[in-house]
Amino acid sequence: MKHLKQICLLLVLTFAVTSFAQDAAKPAASPAPQPAPTIALVIDREVSIIEKQLVDAAEAMPEDKFNFTPESMKIPGSDYKTVRTFAQEVKHVATVNFMLWSPLTGEKPPVDINKGNGPDSMTSKADIVKYLKDSYALGHRAAKSMTAENVVAMVPSPFGAGQISRLFCATFAVSHAFDHYGQSVEYLRMNGIVPPASRPQN
């Protein structure tokens, strides 16, 4: 949404200030060059940004709307045949998070991947939000495992034969989630809910 860039830049600034503060705490006769963050921290910050936005969006949707799909609105002239429900959007993101980040930590995805849709038996808002949060906990562990040396190392593809790079797994999970975040905020707005990240900031 329109505030994403501002949030991103604010985080950038926060990080810059933090780095500067750390510098200031060190004895230095002259301004020291600002240290660059580690690759792990760079990626972890991206995971934190999407985690905050998507978890807040999921929590903002009332439980009785979790099976909402725009098809039900019958908007004249629209085409929403077979699109995901809100719950399916969230479960899909969490599942792909598990698929892309598990190879980075060597962990096994904790649930049935079910072609990227996650467990069909998971239906309550509480369980779905927990599933999403757990996927981001893995994301933070995966991010922290990244180093300048291992980003280009290859891992077995979670999608079949072949291999993909650790950096692609780590960062494309964030991009993929933003794709579905963008759709989820439209689902929220169709139900009269302004996404938390797009509400006026205090």
Partner: protein, 199 residues
């Protein structure tokens, strides 16, 4: 949307297969030698293909469409971007982030969240978008193991080249997710979500 994922995975697999083939021709240790620049640029290519095709799929007379105009009962769409503004915003952010990576002056005033007001026609907006992705490829392909972690100035602060390159793609995907909803509201299935032709 449903098949957008399939498309992404196909591209991933294409890349994976390519990397695998290259590795298979060399000692196993060399399979790790896909440069950072290539990895990040491949991510950008996925976003570019999906976003540009979505922009091209919208008829010109719908470029100023915003969901508020549908008056969906119970909805809340006050102040949201038009379709054109979504595209111009992504392009403008691309210019801001990629010019920071390259150390170049942005070609437009990036303080204008939705880009120059003078860019109005579908053709001009799509050119604006494509040109921003062209700069993106230059920026991504400039990344190295040595410079990706270096801070560069952006806005009022600093951040790393790697963050700017990968987050520009993530940012574009955020707005892509919104844009596909705008298309579907107008009865248009996003190109990346259409059934794939069997070869």
């Amino acid at each position: 949307m449903t098949l957008a994922r399939t498309f992404c995975f196909l591209l991933i697999m294409t890349f994976a297969a390519s990397a695998f083939s290259q590795g298979a021709a060399k000692p196993p240790a060399d399979s790790a030698n896909v440069p950072v620049a290539t990895i990040v640029d491949n991510e950008l290519k996925i976003a570019e293909r999906e976003f540009v095709s979505a922009a091209e799929a919208m008829p010109e007379d719908k470029f100023n469409f915003a969901p508020a105009s549908l008056n969906i009962p119970g909805s809340e769409y006050k102040g949201v971007k038009t379709f054109a503004e979504e595209i111009k915003h992504v392009a403008t952010t691309n210019y801001e982030f990629y010019s920071a990576i390259l150390g170049e002056k942005p070609p437009v005033d990036t303080k204008e969240d939705n880009g120059p007001a003078t860019i109005k026609s579908k053709a001009d907006i799509i050119k604006f978008l494509k040109d921003s992705f062209a700069m993106g490829h230059r920026a991504c392909l400039s990344l190295t193991n040595e410079n990706m972690g270096q801070n560069v100035p952006v806005g009022e602060g600093k951040t790393t080249r790697l963050f700017l390159a990968t987050f520009a793609t993530a940012h574009a995907f955020d707005h892509y997710g919104q844009v596909v909803e705008y298309l579907r509201m107008n009865g248009i299935i996003p190109p990346a979500s259409r059934p794939q032709q069997k070869k």
